[in-house]
Symmetry: C2
Subunit: 344 residues, 2 copies
Amino acid sequence: MRIAVIGFGGVGKAFLELVHDKREVLEAEGINPVINYIVRSQGGIYNPQGIDIGDLLTFLKENQDITTYPQGGSKDISFERIMEEGDVDVVIEMTPTNLETAEPGLGFIRRSLEKGIHVVTANKGPILLAYKELYELAKNNGVQLGIGCTTGGALPSINSGVIDMAGSNITSIEGVLNGTTNFILEEMADKKIEYLEALKKAQDLGIAERDPSLDVEGWDTATKLLILTNVLMQEDKTLDDVDVQGIQSMTLADIEESLKYGKRYKLIGRSSLEDGQLKISVHPELVGPDNIFYNVNGKNKAVRYTSDTLGDLTIIGGASGVTPAAASILRDLINIHRGYSYIR
Amino acid sequence: MRIAVIGFGGVGKAFLELVHDKREVLEAEGINPVINYIVRSQGGIYNPQGIDIGDLLTFLKENQDITTYPQGGSKDISFERIMEEGDVDVVIEMTPTNLETAEPGLGFIRRSLEKGIHVVTANKGPILLAYKELYELAKNNGVQLGIGCTTGGALPSINSGVIDMAGSNITSIEGVLNGTTNFILEEMADKKIEYLEALKKAQDLGIAERDPSLDVEGWDTATKLLILTNVLMQEDKTLDDVDVQGIQSMTLADIEESLKYGKRYKLIGRSSLEDGQLKISVHPELVGPDNIFYNVNGKNKAVRYTSDTLGDLTIIGGASGVTPAAASILRDLINIHRGYSYIR
């Protein structure tokens, strides 16, 4: 399996480490992973025989710039080279998310699929803005589009909705879909600290980003919820259709009031039919010990599907972090190799 | 897709109803279900053109004995006829479970696979006693063996372990795997009644069987746990390897004591490595509000996997009952049609 990695941040490096550490597991699956491209915006590495991952990981301990890597590193390597050579089976697309234009990821995914190359992506933008188009493109070109990492990383939310709910009609989707806000709310309650202090701690730990607005204002939750809703409930909604409220106005006083009643705040996204109308919302909600989301702790996430024939299904897990996110990419890769189809 | 249904109890009837009600969903999947056999121990129905499900369901409202069904019913229809004609793509095996010999299901599954026919089964016996043999048989004959219904019905436990944990190493499996005991323990706590009274209520509601020993003594939990353990942790354990304690000795006093501390009893099965040794046990355990199994209520079930790279994954759901069980069979059928492989 010849692989191109596009975008190379923390998850990209964790992915290389996983491919290196999991060689035996992959061999048992019949997969011989050959990574022949790593492409960043300012150049990359190309080795038609496959990059020596162990050697590259050693190099990366001392060096930041992959374009200086002796075996094939160059400022001239770009996505275009992949299109010219056409020598990969799967493109792993991990460029930064842009929720307005979806670029540059959208173009990379589109062109890869058009060329008959499978794509696994961690990028929410293109899936939020152009899933239907990309689905049809993959279908018409006989290739797969793995999007498991776009709706909660290691939490198998999309995959479960597609595979485990097969044959049933999903009537509602609810979830605690953002680990950062879950961590902040828990810190406020556990340490009795104000929002800004908990946010700072999350930032210091690398859990929240320097600009945390996508997470704390609820847009990350809204994006994941929309992808789940559009894919699993065959809708075509946009962020404008979501009633979004984040956690940035929560105070320690709010939290302390909730604790008096033995409850916890969780940022919950919900798509459900009310009087035949689909309502999509993201709000902080109070949950007590009898609520299924009460124990979604720390950096974990959860999703709950309601269906006509298979009952309710709640999935809790998917620890945040670069390794679980990379493991989620690897999971899609393995399942594509096994022949499981995300696109039918 | 030509289907033979072997064994025809409550789940079998619910399966027919589902196939009938879900015709549009199945068509959208590209599946045209043609049920040409329904076989019971005392005869059955054979119609090479496909049984008219709607007509048969109407017939069943007034009649018990399918061998008197005018379009193909006969006391002479048996599994042998399927082997002679060879005119099915999938055998759905739902004969009664026998945990000692696994027959007659084991023979039916074995012979179907040998003949190159996919099998979906709800029968724990053959999977408990002969999974490795059946797996190899399926593999060598290029067919699939769907066993999703054997470890919790609608709860996607096996499937999640295979698909959602792909590429990771499962290091422990824990679960509330039996809906009947879960219901009884909850009834005792909610209604403040003794074990025998709660059991009787479960029996009256059709949740517990007349002979409830498999459920209440923990053997059903042990069986499901063993199947999960052997399939997902590549073990080869038997019931002799499981330390089993059921709920039959639980008293209302025990339950009331637990409620004082805000806790609940759950019958928990657990396979985990302790000092490099795999320990497999089934015990009633006290869980508090901070335990992930605290909210596994009523007839629901749950399983939790711990892994090296994908973190923990907890799946809660899978309401007990004939429709969810039938929907779980249908799910395996759809996923086999989609090309997802349970056997690789």
